[in-house]
Symmetry: none
Subunit: 219 residues, 4 copies
Amino acid sequence: MNKKERTYREQSLLDHALACFNTDQWENVSVAEIADRAGVAKGTVYLHFTSKHEIYAQLTLQFYNTLLAECQSLSGTDSRSRLVLFISTVFKHHQEKQEYRRVTQYCQREDFIKNLNPELAQSLANIEYRFQSVITALLCDGIKDGSWGADAINKMPGITYTIKGALSQFCCNKNTDQESQIPLINSITDYILSSVGPGKKSKTVTDSLKFTLDQALET
Amino acid sequence: MNKKERTYREQSLLDHALACFNTDQWENVSVAEIADRAGVAKGTVYLHFTSKHEIYAQLTLQFYNTLLAECQSLSGTDSRSRLVLFISTVFKHHQEKQEYRRVTQYCQREDFIKNLNPELAQSLANIEYRFQSVITALLCDGIKDGSWGADAINKMPGITYTIKGALSQFCCNKNTDQESQIPLINSITDYILSSVGPGKKSKTVTDSLKFTLDQALET
Amino acid sequence: MNKKERTYREQSLLDHALACFNTDQWENVSVAEIADRAGVAKGTVYLHFTSKHEIYAQLTLQFYNTLLAECQSLSGTDSRSRLVLFISTVFKHHQEKQEYRRVTQYCQREDFIKNLNPELAQSLANIEYRFQSVITALLCDGIKDGSWGADAINKMPGITYTIKGALSQFCCNKNTDQESQIPLINSITDYILSSVGPGKKSKTVTDSLKFTLDQALET
Amino acid sequence: MNKKERTYREQSLLDHALACFNTDQWENVSVAEIADRAGVAKGTVYLHFTSKHEIYAQLTLQFYNTLLAECQSLSGTDSRSRLVLFISTVFKHHQEKQEYRRVTQYCQREDFIKNLNPELAQSLANIEYRFQSVITALLCDGIKDGSWGADAINKMPGITYTIKGALSQFCCNKNTDQESQIPLINSITDYILSSVGPGKKSKTVTDSLKFTLDQALET
DNA sequence: GATGAATGAGCGTTCATTCAT
DNA sequence: CATGAATGAACGCTCATTCAT
């Protein structure tokens, strides 16, 4: 079994596990069910993952790695619009991958991480730092091109926490449709933009950069 | 057993349960252990709580009810300082009651709430609203007394999420001492203050309202 | 549940376990099967025994405790005949309780004892010493009453090992009927008697003390 | 792979298996571990042995074959000293190959043999007979050369069981050093010698034939 | 009210063995 | 010959919950 096949099989297992978890009783999903759905024997699961918890962790890593990859290639022309794009990207990702919600929430619990193998625990912990790096980079760009003042860099923690807190709320509204989430996103975007200070041109996000349902759907 | 004795017994069970949970393996704590430590029989626990999960939920409610009670009687003279006091109160409460950390984190998971009895689930859900009410009231006061502009009210969601996000970070730094947490609290306070707009007197939090270790310890 | 009921239940479990073990595949007997046969739930077994291995150990202790009790009340009039009686008692006990054979053999393995809880391990280890004490007492009696010389006491280890070795052979002949085992017993008895020295009257065991099938069956 | 290579590979597997088993948890050693240590794939093990149990059995056979080979070429000049040499050889072999202890003990269990393939089971069973043959031959020699009386031949079973029983004790004292085992060996030797009757010259083993540490070490 | 004996479903994990390559 | 991926049966043990006393 070469590397490629191996990766393929693992991805298949993760995909089927994710599918199994799409229920409020997801913690009760047994390894046997996952294996069944993936069409392999229970033992085979353990050739790829050392434990059920590792499956949880890998799904969470996958979710965030994808998100971070998206965030590292934002296309906006000016810093301000790229920050807006960043925020909307983060929310859209959570909206589009709602099936990951339970697992990622579970894996962020401190006691889950404590009982994980060190390497994976580190990877999970790094997500936080990588996320902050993206925001820091955005703020630095904006300072360089004059989009906002030098002290914007101090806003990084606040911005991070605002997004984090909003997401935890956002994720709980799972039954609401995409459209009804938009005000929340816009509100948060405005809040964050105002925190880094007024732009050269005082257009608010409402006028020029507002995240709209159209945008959300066109992607 | 009259009402009073009943309440006393329940509190005793909650206290002993909390004591049992003070370990990273807390999910493995059995009802038998809690009963043992509280000096009653296993069956007795079920005369007071319908399930082990209800104990988790009640502890979480207790934690937040205490916090909210504190927040509703803030003593600051002007709105600005009361907002600062609110923020520090919230953080201090989390700092002082660290033993609740694991349980409250666990109970906030969407799937936990889903599988709880409706009444308790509602109580847990209400915490969020009550928290937001406190912030809203603070902002309204400040608008009335001119501490900040009328659009400050729109900052409520942002403020809520910032605090929420910061707390989740805050709670994970369990091994750090109180002092080293102060910069985080100050940073968040500054961030939030700047978001509601400059006060009449442009003193920054650094000058007049800074949360200091002395304050933290004098309480 | 008072002490008496408790003891009764435990004995019942041991009895049913023993019945389950009466097969060459006895190691494959599951706790569930034992519980089933005893008419209780699996969990109930664990209210009385901390592990499956403890059941093995308890059965073994029971087997030897009964044997040792028998050996401590031998009725022979002179030392020589009591030694003969002792030997035959030991063999008869093993013959009559053949269903214990697999378990006792299993429990004597050094690695089994190593992985047992210390208290039980000690009890198992003590069986050896108690057995040797019985033999020592017999030899001392015989020295006092002049049945054999003073150096008979030095034969204790040899006698012990001879019996032990013969038993391990004896136990493997499980398919042979009682009668065909008699020569073995007589041979060992002669061997041991001759090792402690000639009696005052030089009758051999063959003449006066021979263990016969009649004796074996009349008990 | 010719016969020679095949034998070599099998011996290598047995050696590495034996090395793996040098722990009280040896029953938990997996085929994978043995294969790993021997530097071959798991499947390869099954090209040489039909099951894990066969490995156990082969190791046991190896242990006893070596011992029996030694016993068949004892160098003593007279029967009496050759009997002494035989006993010491048996004990020394067990002392020097302590790492086999767990495995040989395990393989002597009746239920182990019952579940083995017939051919191997027979080989294991034959060990017993071969061992007895050696003793019988020794006794016959002694009768011929007048070392002991004709009825010495009747002592064969007793001698066999004495040695067998003493070895099971001997093997459990694994933590004791060689020197402290010597009294046990001498005691058993004396016991057995006295059972076959006095020699022509009434020297006791203590005088002329005693097994000493020097002898043990000079080999 | 209080007890604690009894329940029994539930599950992650291991590993000897096989067999397609 | 050698591999090692795949298998899947097997099982001890836990523990939240119930309920007869």
